[in-house]
Amino acid sequence: MVVEERHHGQPPAEYEREPVPAKARLGLKEFVGMYAGEHCAGTELMIGPLFVAAGVSAFDLVMGLIVGNALAVLSWIFLCAPIATRARLTLYYQLEKVCGRKLVTLYNLANGTMFCFLAGAMITVSATAVGVWFDFKMPGLNDLYPNSFGWVVAALVVGALISIVAAYGYKMLADFANIAAPWMVLVFLVFGFVGLRQFVDAAGTEMNSLGDLWHLATTQIWKGGEPLAGQVKFTFWHVMFFAWFCNMAMHIGMSDLSVFRYAKKSWYGVASAAGMYVGHFMAWISASILYAYQLHLDPADTDVLPGPLAFRAAGLTGLLCVIIAGWTTANPTIYRAGLAFQAIMPKVSRFKVTLATGLIATIAGMFPAIAMKLLGFVALYGLILMPMGAVIFVDFWLIKKFGLQSNYAQLSGKTFNLAAALAWFVTLGTAWALVKFAGVQIFFVSLPGWFVAAIIYIAVSKIYQRKVHSA
């Protein structure tokens, strides 16, 4: 997922405040490889099982993922990549021109905080692999707090190692992640094959055709019905919106402007399909089969623990996959969170900031709440950063049609564009009110939220830009 991305190399010192020149642009193949690797991460091993815990049916899962991932790919192709290949700027420079430096600082704070918690979930995933070796009590599906001393120590050790590596040797582990990516994708595929066979044996059925496979899927693996205690029931719409919006910060939120500014053509956004249908289709389905098999063996065993799940299916290789998947994705996430915070405190060294960020992520990783509630957290993550994507979209394509200035902060010398700030805050307030008082689930508020942000940005800009001009 999401969420869960791997970064290929250290962010460059070049082209941070200028358009990427023609000589530095890259072909489609580079983007396909990057997306396929980035979106097959440790957190996929949580998301797949959580779908099963949410009582999803086979049709809802498969169709929801096909449609939702297609919408995500279309969002990259039609919303993000066209702006990226025209402006060829990083998200941060583009935001600075529109919103001003102070508002970007606030955005960095939000972004860094979300990255910290996301890295915490990745540490949680890796720590579950340690539990297989040392056999301490691990958190259950509805646990919010650490429930054993062994778990705290495991999360602390894993988190400390990841943080130290992120601070010292980010680049080396990023190179290692590139090498691990093809292996990891195939281990996820193996999880699916092994899980299927285990189901066939356990159910005492035969699988000689696609019809048999579908029958097994609907009657044994994803049976639908009531979710497990404490979980939200997932329908087609939940799966579709989750698959579409789990990387919302990247496509609709425009974070991947920084990626596609290197693309020769805007249609290279189609490369994101490699990530969606490998990581957010195959890997989620594989991981969910493993968990469904665990429930089939013992319906009372509802713990979502990637380590034991992977070990049961693929032995030592499965455990290595959990550790490496968690590590290689937590590493760049902590590093990027550190960068976001360092932008706020430029005088403090990147080393110290990354270590401190890693410490926060480690503490977050000790609390299983984030990993066990990952579906909701990922939806929240996309929602929080989405309004700025709407602001960029409107500013780039529409605002001049209303007789207003684009890149207003740059033109006016303002460091805090009030119109953009209000678009952000009011949208989040509206979403919060919809969830809190109207009973709308968080998975569904981002879509209306985008339109709220766009309308507020235009409406307030009408007043704000005139007021500033006349002042």
Partner: protein, 63 residues
């Protein structure tokens, strides 16, 4: 040498995946699959490191 490493690495990925296909077809035991997978994993990381490290990369500055 790099070409040999590439061939060995790609072969190891086949060794990683194919046993599970045979397991799905009911032709081999799960223990055999697990042993072949760990062997393939070792071969992959040794040979792919030689083949792919360091690789050209997309640097994205997403922060």
């Amino acid at each position: 040498m790099r070409l040999i490493a590439k061939i060995v690495a790609l072969t190891s990925l086949l060794l990683l995946t194919l046993p599970s296909v045979f397991y799905l077809a009911g032709r081999v035991s799960l223990d055999t699959v697990k042993w072949l997978m760990i062997l393939a994993t070792v071969v992959w990381f040794v040979s792919a490191s030689y083949w792919m490290w360091p690789r050209a990369e997309i640097s994205t500055d997403r922060q």
